[in-house]
């Protein structure tokens, strides 16, 4: 089994899986605690417009997606800061408009649109080296920004009003955070696809939260869960490819494995909690 990792596409897949796990563990934690799941969904779906633009202009779809995702994060962020009402409506609009652009651009694009499905549903086995390089840069930016702004992000996530009293630039910090979400969406796109990005942003942190109650441990455990599920997902995907003789996308396999880990964690925690209560009541007797 191990010799398959000597294949270049397998190495790329492994690198992409690891990078995606790091990004989703760190940024997913913020997405969950700051409750910006819907915003993240909006950003990721809008990115499809950029994928389409990439095909239309003959440039890298991932580059186009990066531009669209960042643009979406700025629009949603500013709308959220400026509008007194909820920004839900704006997110819904941008979400659909971005998808519409993507579908239109793809239909107008000359020639074939190879790999289109991998942007939508993700296939880590088809990540080219150039995309891995882009992912490395994005992950480095994310790590550097989060390490340098950790206490600021913490304060803003906990209580925006109090963060403002502390003199923090709450609006700018919020926009930076959304930009990091956009970058994470790009990193996850090749692994699980636009439509399922949300799952990898939410399930690992939610699972981690079951076992730890501080932010940094939550990030670390999320990353570990992500590494385990993406790697086992990509191995399963490869094995199914070989077995069935046709490509089976890794995206859905990874998501289902992650969901399975969450359910098992929840059950084991419940069972353990029950056992603990029984033990305690026994000792009282």
């Amino acid at each position: 089994m191990l010799e398959v990792f000597r294949l270049e596409f397998m190495q790329n897949a492994l690198a992409a899986g690891l990078l995606a796990s790091i990004a989703c563990g760190i940024i997913g934690t913020y997405v969950v605690v700051k409750r910006i799941v819907f915003i993240s969904g909006g950003i990721s779906h809008t990115a499809y417009g950029g994928v389409g633009l990439g095909y239309l202009l003959g440039i890298s779809p991932l580059l186009g997606a990066t531009g669209f995702a960042l643009l979406a994060s700025v629009i949603i962020g500013i709308a959220g800061l400026r509008l007194k009402t909820s920004s839900d409506t704006i997110i819904g609009m941008i979400w659909a408009v971005g998808m519409a652009f993507g579908i239109l651009f793809v239909s107008m694009a000359p020639g074939a649109t190879p790999e289109l499905m991998t942007y939508l549903f993700g296939n880590v086995l088809m990540v080219p080296k150039s995309d891995v390089y882009l992912m490395v840069i994005l992950v480095m930016v994310i790590v550097v920004v989060v390490v340098s702004l950790y206490k600021e992000f913490f304060a803003v996530s906990f209580d925006e009003e109090y963060a403002a009293v502390l003199g923090l630039p709450v609006g700018s910090l919020y926009l930076i955070m959304l930009a990091l979400v956009a970058m994470t969406v790009i990193i996850l796109m090749r692994v699980v696809g636009i439509i399922m990005v949300i799952a990898l942003l939410t399930i690992p942190p939610a699972t981690a939260r079951l076992f730890v109650n501080r932010m940094v441990p939550m990030m670390v455990v999320s990353v570990i869960i992500g590494v385990v599920t993406t790697i086992s997902g990509l191995i399963s995907s490869y094995a199914l490819n070989e077995m069935l003789g046709k490509p089976v996308p890794s995206g859905p396999i990874i998501i289902l494995l992650t969901a399975l880990v969450f359910i098992l964690s929840l059950l084991s925690k419940k069972m353990f909690a029950g056992w603990y209560v029984v033990k305690e009541s026994n000792s009282n007797v």
């Binding site: 206490k151 906990f158 209580d159 009293v165 003199g167 939260r209 109650n213 501080r214």
Partner: protein
């Protein structure tokens, strides 16, 4: 007004107006708070108490008038300001321990990009001891009771080592015992810093504060706590009030609407 005019003003509010849209909340507000004063702000709901505090901590800007905190604009005074908001944790699941939350108070002193130092930890520990929550430092913030959480927020404000401490109804979620120990703490603190507290607790007003401001859109009275006259309170609260004060017995404010048998 038996106030020590020689002391430096910590807060100076001049002719301040503020409205939310068309609704005028504050008008012609004038208030001076001097060093080591312990000011209680009372007034009816919707009287603009929390709005005034928000102006003082720089969260909102007045439409008109001038506000100076520690000789400068509120926004520039943050590193010397401790603020205790009303109990408002919406996400009880938030992954933070008591220590994490108290350390947040050091952020104003640290500056962007810098990590907390050993000194920050020490100051946070000291603040935690002051409000007697040493046993809770490792606990997740959402697991605490409302009263315990309120003490965490006070510790967070104290961790800043403020020259001015501003509290918005700090005892609303506390039981009487803890409330009393909080007032004891504030009595201790007022020796070294200036305290402004919004409260509905009249017994506290008469027992501990050094001055009282009655706020109902504008400031009706700002004198020492022992001489708030019933007329002023009646004007502020908009209904007749009996103020019973006999020596050391706590003052009580009772509405005279109903009749007691």
């Amino acid at each position: 007004m038996s106030k020590d005019e020689s002391k430096e003003p910590v807060v100076r509010i001049r002719d301040v107006d503020f409205s939310y849209g068309d609704r005028k909340v504050l008008w012609d507000v004038n208030l001076t708070v001097r060093e080591n004063e312990y000011l209680g702000i009372i007034g009816p709901n919707g009287g603009g108490k929390s709005t005034l505090l928000k102006i003082l901590v720089g969260l909102i800007k007045p439409d008109k008038g001038k506000v100076e905190v520690l000789g400068t604009a509120p926004k520039s005074a943050v590193s010397h300001l401790g603020y205790v908001p009303q109990e408002t944790l919406s996400d009880l699941d938030f992954p933070a321990t008591v220590l994490d939350v108290v350390l947040m108070g050091r952020t104003a002193r640290r500056g962007l990009f810098k990590r907390y130092s050993a000194l920050d930890r020490e100051k946070a520990d000291r603040a935690i001891e002051k409000v007697h929550i040493q046993d809770l430092v490792e606990r997740q913030i959402g697991e605490l009771s409302g009263g315990q959480r309120q003490r965490v927020y006070i510790a967070r404000a104290l961790a800043t080592e403020p020259r001015l401490l501003i509290l918005d109804e700090p005892t609303a979620a506390l039981d009487e015992n803890i409330g009393r120990s909080l007032y004891g703490l504030l009595d201790e603190l007022k020796k070294s810093i200036t305290v402004i507290m919004v409260t509905h607790d009249m017994s506290v007003i008469s027992r501990t504060v050094s001055s009282v401001a009655c706020l109902c859109g504008t400031v009706f009275s700002h004198g020492d706590g022992k001489t708030v006259d019933p007329d002023t309170l009646e004007k502020v609260y908009g209904c007749p009030i009996d103020l019973i004060a006999h020596g050391s017995v706590p003052h009580r404010v009772l509405s005279a609407h109903g009749r007691e048998g």
